[in-house]
């Protein structure tokens, strides 16, 4: 059971996509006065679309993230 917790911490270190999913896709949205909150930015950027857009279905990826 401790082993599972240790693995969980290790998984946390490795998975970039998890960090991106959370930092970009979740968290309180409060608009700063300098930048628009990311929620307001039209996500036309490929890297963001790939991350935040995730895959809509469970079928194999076609390289088109939504």
């Amino acid at each position: 059971m401790n082993g599972e917790l240790e693995r969980a911490a290790a998984n946390r270190q490795v998975a970039l996509v998890e960090v991106l999913d959370r930092a970009l896709g979740a968290g309180v949205v409060i608009t700063g006065d300098i930048t628009l909150s990311l929620a307001d930015v039209d996500l036309v950027y490929l890297s963001l679309r790939l991350v935040v857009g995730s895959v809509p279905t469970l079928k194999p990826a076609t390289g088109d993230a939504r």
């Binding site: 969980a8 911490a9 930092a23 309180v28 949205v29 409060i30 929620a39 895959v55 194999p60 990826a61």
Partner: protein, 274 residues
């Protein structure tokens, strides 16, 4: 129009008096230390950022650069992890930037009630991620074993016309795939229901893009669970137990955490309201 050269980046908000350990912690702009901006009973974790890198204009460019996004997101998350180790926190979305600390304090004043409410609710809790990945071949093999009909029919098709046998087999393959899929999805639903029962709150996230997750297999569950510190070990035990049970049918469970409660703050629902 002369732009100020520095902005004030906000990572998260904690209760004033929570003293997260900030020594040696790099912010999203490593030139500047992470500090506390306090107003009444709330503190924001902030650091200065150069606007040549973090203005709205510059961000449009930088957000296209996955390397930049990775560095920034990891730095952001590292600050949240320190705050989480100390006390409850309300995580802010990446790249929330104000003109200066005074404006951050204004925000703390404006949002005080909802921030305090969130901190109270989240106290002692962290977010855990559980994913269930299916290896289609292993799942199909398990489905075949479970349905003796499949094993029998493959031999029965001998003696029929070659064309007919071909279509028969195709039909069977499809049925087997459907069966395997139904079995895997039922397992994912069951796992989520069980884990939700162990958590204070739970939410389903969209499955991750396979290229980015660098995982093989199909992600059938991407769950986030809010779990109290005192129940984390038990939660991990349940994940282990579910993992062992599902491994034989080609499903792997993966636990990661503890995460700041990114997916359990009320305002994160704002993305659905817009």
């Amino acid at each position: 129009m002369t732009e100020p050269t520095l902005g004030c980046y906000v990572y998260c908000v904690v209760r004033a008096g929570a003293h997260p350990w900030l020594d040696g912690l790099d912010g999203v702009d490593p030139t500047f230390p992470v500090e506390l901006a306090t107003h009444d009973n709330l503190s924001a974790l902030v650091s200065k950022v150069r606007l040549e890198e973090f203005s709205a204009e510059a961000l449009k460019r930088n957000l296209e650069d996955l390397g930049w996004v990775e560095r920034t997101a990891r730095a952001h998350d590292a600050v949240l992890a320190r705050a989480l180790a100390a006390d409850a926190l309300v995580p802010f979305r990446l790249c929330t930037i104000f003109t200066d600390e005074a404006h951050v304090r204004d925000m703390l004043e404006r949002e005080r009630d909802s921030l305090l409410e969130e901190l109270e609710r989240l106290r002692g809790h962290a977010e855990w991620s559980v994913k269930l990945l299916a290896d289609p071949r292993r799942v199909e093999a398990a489905a075949r074993e479970r349905s003796p009909a499949f094993a029998a029919t493959t031999t029965n098709s001998e003696g029929q016309g070659a064309g007919r046998a071909f279509f028969e087999r195709k039909k069977q393959d499809q049925t087997l795939r459907d069966e395997a899929r139904a079995m895997a999805e039922a397992a994912a639903e069951e796992a989520h229901a069980r884990l939700r029962g162990e958590a204070a709150a739970a939410t389903l996230l969209p499955p991750q893009h396979p290229e980015l997750s660098r995982r093989s297999g199909q992600m059938l569950l991407n769950g986030a669970y809010l779990v109290h510190r005192s129940k984390a070990a038990e939660f991990a035990r349940v994940v282990s137990e579910l993992g062992e049970r599902h491994r034989e049918i080609g499903l792997d469970l993966e636990l990661s955490g503890p995460w700041a409660p990114y997916n359990f703050v009320a305002a994160s629902e704002a993305k659905d309201e817009r």
